[in-house]
């Protein structure tokens, strides 16, 4: 199932990137290029043949793990991508950890104290988080924490400190969404009969929330993680630009700027694959949390 989806993704992206107006050869060649040089360059860039022909050649190479050569740096796109991937994964996982650390407790507290001031406050915060353009938040964070207070660096990826602001920038929206999901999911679970059963057993309230309720509430929360992973990657595009974080997102933005079609296509295809794989992993995590799903898999 993974392969056909990827092929289709590759096609969609390949088609989009190749309808761009203008012959890409001109943006790569020097100003004094002769016809022969242009022809040679076209050949080298794999621009000869019809779109369909080129697509099948591309797919053929893709299946061998070859994403082509960057128009600009003449480097292997796979190599470039793999150079950037760890940074993006670092940022994405920090973002998720960050969002979880904020959102889970907040959402749970809000749900347990439904309609209290803390509930209202966290819901208002979550709404604001959802409504704030993340790049703007990033800029505000730089002004406050980097310029005024000097606590964190404003960019680059040296050390743990430099990941905090970008992770928060991307994570704010996710945290907001997670807080809301956690809260509503907890509220759902809190009403379930089995919690009453647990209470009637004399299980202390804390244990009920931590053990009985949370584990059930986690199921929809995990779904959100899966759905949001691709958004986290999307959000990191902006944060990577604002914070000069050398990840995949900025790679794509820069490559688009440079009309580097193989890099754009390759990075998007690989990113889609990554999202698909992560969603698969999330399905597996599901099985750990929810025995009903596990049963389905083992059968």
């Amino acid at each position: 199932m993974l392969i056909p989806v990827l092929l289709a993704v590759a096609f969609v992206i390949y088609a989009i990137m190749n309808v761009a107006e203008g012959d890409p050869v001109y943006s790569v060649a020097g100003a004094d290029a002769t016809e022969e040089q242009l022809a040679a360059l076209r050949e080298e860039m794999g621009l000869n043949g019809s779109l369909i022909e080129r697509y099948f050649r591309y797919i053929g190479n893709l299946l061998k793990g070859d994403l082509g050569i960057s128009y600009v740096s003449k480097q292997d796109v796979m190599k470039i991508y793999l150079q950037r991937l760890p940074n993006t994964l670092k940022l994405a996982s920090m973002t998720m950890i960050f969002a979880t650390l904020i959102a889970l407790p907040l959402g749970i507290i809000a749900a347990v104290n439904q309609n209290s001031w803390i509930d209202t406050l966290s819901m208002v915060l979550a709404l604001i988080g959802l409504s704030m353009p993340n790049f703007w938040l990033g800029l505000l964070l730089i002004i406050l924490f980097s310029l005024k207070l000097g606590w964190f660096p404003s960019g680059g990826n040296e050390g743990f400190k430099s990941i905090i602001l970008p992770a928060f920038t991307v994570g704010a929206g996710l945290a907001a969404l997670l807080t809301r999901t956690t809260r509503s999911s907890m509220l759902d679970v809190i009403r379930q009969d089995y919690l009453r059963t647990a209470r009637a057993k004399g299980v202390p309230e804390k244990t009920i929330i931590r053990k009985h309720a949370l584990r059930n509430a986690l199921i929809p929360i995990i779904t959100i993680f899966g759905v949001q992973f691709s958004n986290v990657l999307g959000g990191s595009v902006l944060a990577e630009t604002v914070f000069a974080w050398p990840g995949v997102g900025r790679l794509v933005v820069d490559a688009i700027d440079q009309r580097d079609i193989p890099t754009v296509t390759g990075a998007l295809v690989m990113t889609t694959m990554l999202v698909t794989v992560v969603n698969l992993l999330i399905d597996i995590v599901y099985a750990f949390v929810d025995p009903r799903i596990k049963a389905k898999y083992t059968k």
């Binding site: 020097g30 290029a33 003449k74 480097q75």
Partner: protein, 505 residues
């Protein structure tokens, strides 16, 4: 000539010995533009040029102080009396950074493949023959006497590469030169690091490792300098310069920039083929406001058609002062009515956009419509280079300063094709095809008498000013912020800085 080399290298050696072991190990330079390639013949961006300065050498180089040609890889050379034959002598013991020797054969190889490079071919187009009588000598014959051939050979695009390495690996072979540094690690879009060549003839560089780190955002880049993440911040935002001036730990370096920003007009587009329309646009261009808004007033109006500081720059050139009435008059002369003409202007960077918005408003006043087309840098370059020449106006720049001939020839010149028609030279964004001008350029190139030659360039500029193929806008400053104790770097008016001797003692 030889004496000065000895003195210079002695001084350099002394300098190095004194400081090599006491200085900061790594110097990080925050750059605005990404290195896109490490192949000297595959690009002409400033960012790449700075890398080639570290990794490669050219046969000769330009003394930044005097503008004279000084030895590079070749320690001496002779020019034949007719000015067509150049003989370069390459000393013994020159090695590439991987340790293999560099001989005259590598020079021949480099110049030969340059003919196939769409970036370097214009510089070697006059070469008709290259001979290598022995490993230390290369003899180059030109089709015509070229007063600026040595200047062209000093261009970083003519960096000498290793025949063996390039033949073995077309991609990474060109990365290796005979320079003071070699590439250590390159993560495109993030950073590139260079380590010094410990065996460089005449001694190793004072700093072991130089890193170019990319910060696309000017404000982020400056913040990085202020927080100490980087040692040098290239091209801080013009609005932020006060931060550097006011910080005693930092040093602001301002070098008048030779880069010319201009409005390119495709002279063959309907409307723009009318000289009065072009003059109307020139009169409607408010350069002062543009500099004020786009550069925070950190720039100088430029009215000449060649770069500031170049030989033959006409100090008395006629100026199209900003005057909307005159602009309207010119438009009337052209026969077009207000409202008849609508153009598109292409820009890529934010400051050019600001300039275009100001132009837009003034043109609207006199009845010429202007629409802004924002493109990515590469897309814009693609549109300009595309054989279709499908553009009208564009705010663009001319960065090369490799001689006046190179500038006028590339920016305004054309050449005769086999069928007898003229074709514009690569960087002739105005698409100007003027045989009279071509003849003037050719004449000036071969003129040996300096004074006469200067006069000829004055006339070329006056001629251009009559036909207004482009509207020159401004030159600005090359701004660099450094930590106060950074020294040794050579800051270039071309913005292609030389970091070989940079250090923090």
């Amino acid at each position: 000539m030889k004496k000065s080399v000895v003195v210079l290298s002695l001084l350099m050696a002394l300098f190095i010995v004194m400081t090599a072991y006491a200085s900061q190990d790594t110097i990080t330079i925050g750059v605005a533009n990404d290195i896109t390639t490490l192949d000297p013949q595959a690009s002409n961006t400033d960012a790449n040029m700075m890398a080639f300065t570290l990794t490669h050498e050219t046969l000769v180089q330009i003394d930044p102080e005097t503008g004279n040609i000084i030895p590079g890889l070749a320690d001496s050379w002779e020019i034949s009396e007719d000015g067509k034959v150049f003989t370069f002598h390459i000393p013994d013991g020159v090695t590439f950074t991987d340790g293999t020797p560099c001989t005259a054969h590598d020079v021949e190889f480099t110049y030969t493949i340059a003919k196939d490079s769409s970036f370097a071919n214009a510089k070697v187009s006059d070469i008709v023959d290259i001979q290598v009588p022995d490993d230390n000598t290369v003899v180059i014959t030109l089709s015509r006497a070229n007063q600026e051939f040595l200047l062209l050979m000093a261009h970083r695009g003519m960096s000498i590469m290793s025949e063996a390495l390039v033949t073995a690996d077309k991609t990474e072979g060109p990365w290796v030169g005979t320079g003071m540094f070699s590439v250590e690690n390159w993560v495109p879009g993030d950073y590139i690091s260079f380590v010094r060549n410990e065996n460089y003839r005449g001694g190793a560089a004072p700093t072991r490792r130089i890193v170019f780190k990319l910060y696309k955002e000017a404000s982020t880049r400056l913040i990085a300098l202020q927080t100490g993440e980087i040692d040098v911040c290239v091209d801080p935002a013009s609005t932020d310069l006060a931060y550097i001036r006011d910080d005693e730990n930092l040093n602001l370096i301002q070098v008048p920039n030779v880069v010319m920003i201009y409005i390119a007009m495709q002279n063959e587009k309907p409307g723009l083929d009318n000289v009065h329309v072009r003059k109307a646009i020139a009169y409607a261009t408010n350069k002062e406001d543009m500099i004020f808004a786009a550069l925070n007033d950190e720039g100088t109006v430029h009215n000449n058609y060649i770069n500031a500081g170049q030989f033959g720059l006409n100090p008395d050139i006629h100026v199209y002062e900003y005057d909307l009435e005159k602009a309207a008059e010119e438009l009337e002369l052209s026969g077009y009515k207000p409202g008849d003409l609508n153009f598109k202007v292409m820009v890529d960077k934010e400051f050019k956009k600001v300039a275009a918005l100001i132009l837009m408003e003034d043109l609207e006043e006199i009845g010429i419509g202007l629409e802004l087309e924002e493109l990515e840098t590469a897309a814009l370059k693609g549109r300009l280079n595309d054989a279709a020449l499908d553009y009208e106006l564009c705010i663009y720049q001319w960065t090369d300063a490799d001689g006046t001939d190179f500038t006028v020839r590339n920016m305004y010149g054309s050449f005769e094709q086999e069928d007898g028609t003229l074709k514009k030279n690569g960087s002739n964004r105005a698409n100007l095809k003027d045989p009279v001008l071509n003849a003037m350029i050719d004449e000036a190139l071969v003129e040996i008498d300096t004074e006469k030659r200067e006069q000829e360039y004055f006339e070329i500029e006056n001629y251009l000013d009559e036909i207004v193929p482009i509207v020159p806008l401004w030159t600005s400053f090359v701004n660099i912020g450094t930590k106060a104790d950074v020294e040794g770097a050579v800051w270039m008016p071309t913005a292609k800085h030389d970091y070989r001797l940079i250090q923090i003692p």
